[in-house]
């Protein structure tokens, strides 16, 4: 029904467009995250100002697995909007990009896009399919700076130091050392996923071997370590009360107000903290999830969602021109004005304003030294098992051991690999 209404409005718009001038209307399908809506509004408005003959019609969809299925269905039935926003990395590969999407290597500002990003949205033939819609993100640990100062703690460089900090917090304050929020079960995966910098620093070939069915989580000690860390903090009793019923927003509020000292999370949460608890945003800091060796401390990086074009678009040339605009410094500044900057941009020449939030500032040094960042595994391998979040809930709730969860996860990814028809599986 909703779709019918949508179609009717599109038709109505098309008629009015014809009667007005030769204006073109681009439809654009985005997820309903408030940041995505705000930045898309700002970008389309800025573009229409330069090209008054181009109008946009935004269409919202839910996020998560439900949204994935909407995107897949609309691509499969040839009903995709002219432009759409979707994840980069392993989720993109499930869309069969070389079959369903339009390469954008020929847009005017293509060379502005950093190769660290294009490598996560391309196929084997070198076709690139997207322009980043936001900044890169870090996956690590949000922490309460006020609490750290009161207790005289230092940002930990090793996992051992991190555990020592947690012990002090548990003994000397009322705060929970670590916030966990399993009502939103996806949040339970962070300790495992954000450990990937440490995995690759010990096992540089892990991603390739894993994709080729040669390396497994359960039998690679450095990869198993992420699951073990989760088990360790769970067994130590470092979580907030009733963490099984707590939500993502509870977690953000706890770390901002100091009810919890740490919250393992992606830095995309920073704007949400600023909306929920603007008075506390300056109390929130960020550090990478430490490994076992202080000399190899670095950050696991997530690539942002991006703008894609379907292969059968009606207004490909105009859509490409819009994507080309998104790959400019002007567009970066438009995004910063709309939602603030949450990390480094992936477009050449884009800079951050001086007044970014402390948690963002904490993240930047990692990017300034070569080798202190590594992409998360889902940007290096097309395989990500769907069961991980339930398994990490089980490890975090002490229902299952790290080893058993890793073994089940290895079994789980097999389905994904077979579905993608990867060799060696």
């Amino acid at each position: 029904m909703k779709d019918l209404v949508k179609k009717l409005t599109v038709i109505a718009f098309a008629f009015s467009a014809v009667s007005a001038a030769s204006a073109v209307e681009l439809s654009i399908l985005i997820d309903n995250n408030p940041d995505t809506v705000a930045l898309t509004q700002a970008l389309t408005l800025a573009y229409s100002k330069k090209h008054p003959d181009v109008k946009f019609e935004m269409e919202l969809r839910p996020g998560g697995a439900e949204g994935d299925n909407i995107v897949k269905t609309r691509l499969a039935t040839g009903e995709m909007a002219d432009v759409f926003i979707y994840n980069s990395g392993s989720l993109l590969q499930a869309l069969r990009p070389s079959r369903t999407l339009e390469p954008i290597n020929d847009i005017a500002n293509f060379s502005n896009i950093l190769s660290s990003f294009t490598s996560t949205v391309s196929d084997k033939k070198g076709n690139v399919y997207a322009v980043p819609a936001q900044t890169a993100m870090g996956g690590g640990i949000l922490y309460n700076k006020r609490l750290y100062k009161e207790l005289g703690l230092k940002v930990p460089m090793t996992w051992k130091e991190f555990m020592a900090n947690c012990a002090i917090i548990a003994a000397k304050s009322k705060a929970a050392p670590i916030a966990q929020t399993y009502r939103d079960s996806w949040t339970s995966q962070l300790i495992v996923l954000a450990d990937y910098y440490n995995v690759q620093s010990e096992q540089p070939n892990f991603a390739d071997d894993y994709t080729n069915n040669k390396a497994k989580f359960a039998t690679t000690p450095s990869a198993l370590r992420g699951f073990e860390k989760l088990q360790q903090v769970s067994e130590a009793g470092y979580f907030n009360d009733y963490y099984g019923a707590a939500t993502y927003n509870d977690g953000l509020n706890m770390v901002a107000t100091g009810k919890a000292a740490h919250y393992p999370m992606l830095t995309f949460a920073i704007p949400a903290i600023n909306i929920n608890t603007p008075d506390q945003i300056n109390d929130v800091g960020f550090f990478a999830q430490p490994g076992d060796d202080a000399s190899k401390n670095g950050l696991t990086v997530w690539m942002p969602n991006a703008f894609y074009l379907p292969k059968e678009g009606d207004h490909k040339d105009i859509a490409k021109d819009f994507l080309s605009y998104v790959a400019t410094v002007d567009a970066c500044n438009t995004i910063t004005n709309a939602i603030g900057a949450n990390g480094p941009y992936l477009i050449k020449g884009c800079t951050l304003p001086d007044n970014v939030f402390p948690a963002v500032k904490d993240m930047l040094p990692y990017f300034q030294v070569e080798g202190r960042t590594a992409p998360a595994l889902e940007f290096l391998s097309p395989i990500k098992g769907p069961m991980l979040e339930q398994l990490t809930v089980e490890v975090g709730s002490s229902i299952r051991t790290a080893k058993s969860a890793a073994e089940l996860y290895d079994q789980d990814v097999e389905k994904q690999a077979k579905q993608l028809n990867l060799p060696n599986w």
Partner: protein, 286 residues
């Protein structure tokens, strides 16, 4: 010979077309897709691999056991509670028809809405139930968080939601029992309890058959309430077959989840068909 058909072809053609397009074609294509690897963009025939993959699913056993437990617990509870409530609501209470309407209310409310509401009501710290219990000095359980309890907490809500329908069927069933039986029993000096177990329970059997069959079928394929309340969690502890299948669908394993649906269909048929047969035979015996 006279044709046994009572309607001409042109009359049954429209409904026949609807049946063909909306029921027959999807069922046949579902069987086909369950034999393929399907990512919505292309299909590849892989024989019975989806079925073998589905049976290797690590949480299939948990899901299957939970499905049967959930179906059994809710249908037994609904029929016992439904009968008792029906007896109560036919006993000539003041405002009886108002009370009958009241018990049917939860049946009409959206399941997902109920699920979301009860997730809050059952919150271990701030939920209404545990706050209430704490006034009595009882430390309430972690209803949906405790892996051993989660499924039963959902079952409890499902019984509350569905018992109105069971009661209604029983009220209709009780009305068919002739008052002569009770009169005769009274003259013979039977107690109320004897009358309940010797007259009401056996004679209301057709209603029991309907209630058990209906609630068992809905229990075995129940999904919406579980998904709204626990998403099969914590971990996999309240997963049922339907939620296992839904998660496979969400993950984009379309062929695999179609195979799972066919298995669920067979399982429900395997349980419900013999049960209905058994009930119906018993009815004839009576």
């Amino acid at each position: 010979m006279k044709s046994s058909r009572s309607y001409p072809y042109w009359f049954i053609l429209p409904s026949g077309l609807i049946y063909l397009v909306l029921f027959l074609v999807p069922t046949v294509t579902a069987f086909w897709f369950s034999l393929t690897q399907w990512d919505l963009f292309e299909t590849r025939f892989i024989g019975l691999e989806n079925y073998s993959q589905f049976f290797q699913e690590p949480f299939l056993i948990t899901g299957a056991v939970n499905t049967v437990v959930f179906g059994a617990v809710t249908s037994i509870a609904k029929s016992i509670l439904g009968l008792l409530l029906a007896v109560l609501l036919t006993s000539g209470l003041l405002g009886q028809s108002f009370l009958r309407t009241l018990i049917f209310f939860p049946v009409l409310v959206s399941t997902v809405g109920i699920g979301i509401a009860f997730t809050e009501i059952m919150h271990p710290a701030r939920g209404m139930i545990n706050v209430g219990l704490s006034y009595l000095g009882i430390h309430g359980p972690a209803w949906l968080i405790d892996p051993h309890l989660a499924l039963f907490s959902v079952a409890l809500v499902d019984v509350w939601k569905g018992v109105g329908l069971a009661t209604l069927i029983y009220i209709a069933g009780l009305a068919t029992i002739s008052s002569d039986y009770y009169e005769a029993a009274r003259i013979d000096g039977a107690t109320k309890l004897q009358m309940f177990f010797r007259i009401t329970v056996p004679l209301v059997r057709p209603a029991t058959v309907t209630v058990v069959t209906l609630s068992l079928i809905s229990g075995l394929r129940s999904f919406d309430l579980i998904w709204a309340m626990t998403k099969g969690g914590p971990g996999f502890s309240s997963d049922v077959l339907a939620s296992v299948i839904y998660k496979q669908y969400q993950a984009g394993f379309y062929g695999l989840s179609t195979a799972g649906n066919i298995i669920l269909f067979v399982l429900v048929a395997l349980i419900v068909v013999p049960l209905t047969y058994w009930f119906n035979r018993r009815e004839v015996d009576l």
